[in-house]
Symmetry: C2
Subunit: 155 residues, 2 copies
């Protein structure tokens, strides 16, 4: 997850094509994980602003289930990535890019939950698992989920 701006560690010739493909999959999973935290915080900040008019660090921390310094650090990362802004002792605000991310993440989250329920997962469990699953659903898979849901018998 540090792997952000690293030279990408080119594969030695000794690695078989099989190995390389497999390694690619793990790399993709790691990349997805690296952005997962930012996605969740962006979504949460969006929720809070919508519900309460503003997002305070204390509220973010409470909802994320972390100590407030952890939330502060996450906000710092979001700022560094250009996803939010904040001034000392004031609330946190999403930039356009952050708002865009939050909306996308929220929509994907909903689709994942809906798909799980359509498959037969209890809603409670669907909501629980979706929080982790969502970050590993690619655009292609998301499209497939939407398509599947669209042609579901409305029950």
């Amino acid at each position: 997850m540090p792997n952000q701006n690293r030279p990408a560690a080119e594969m030695p010739d000794s690695a078989s094509a099989q190995d390389t493909a497999q390694a690619e999959r793990f790399n993709q999973a790691r990349a997805a994980q690296a952005v997962a935290v930012l996605e969740d915080y962006a979504e949460m900040i969006g929720d809070l602003i919508e519900e309460l008019g503003e997002a305070r660090v204390t509220d973010i921390a409470a909802r994320m289930g972390v100590a407030h310094p952890t939330a502060t650090k996450a906000v710092a990362r979001l700022k560094r990535e250009g996803l939010c802004t904040s001034r000392p002792y004031r609330g946190v605000f999403l930039t356009p890019a952050g708002a865009e991310l939050a909306e996308r993440v929220r929509a994907r989250h909903r689709t994942v939950v809906d798909l799980l329920i359509a498959i037969g997962v209890p809603p409670e469990t669907a909501e629980l698992d979706a929080e982790g699953l969502e970050h590993h659903v690619s655009d292609t898979t998301l499209a497939a989920f939407d398509a599947f849901l669209a042609k579901q018998p409305p029950r």
Copy 2:
């Protein structure tokens, strides 16, 4: 992910029931992520032993797409957790617990891929996404996946 044997940070009364439920979800997702790496390494070691008769650190690293010291560290964690054994300059071996984990993870991986394909995800993409998704599929959801696949028209 350090969160292993921590006091679980009891929720303040100020947090609403809503907030608490949400926080629980994030905590579960974090817990799942914490074991994800061990699961992947255990599965990989199992694969290598089956295919090549033994699991060498170099092969593990190549297939995981990491540098070999990273694989060595992962093996150390597996050993600490009682999931594998190894002696210097010799291969890595799964303990009964490790083998059990590897088998469970492999079966779950297969189910996730099959489900994605059944939903309409291209096989290539299914394999890619499954590598990350699998670690967030609870037993309940896995059972639902199996049930769904069982009553699928065989195509």
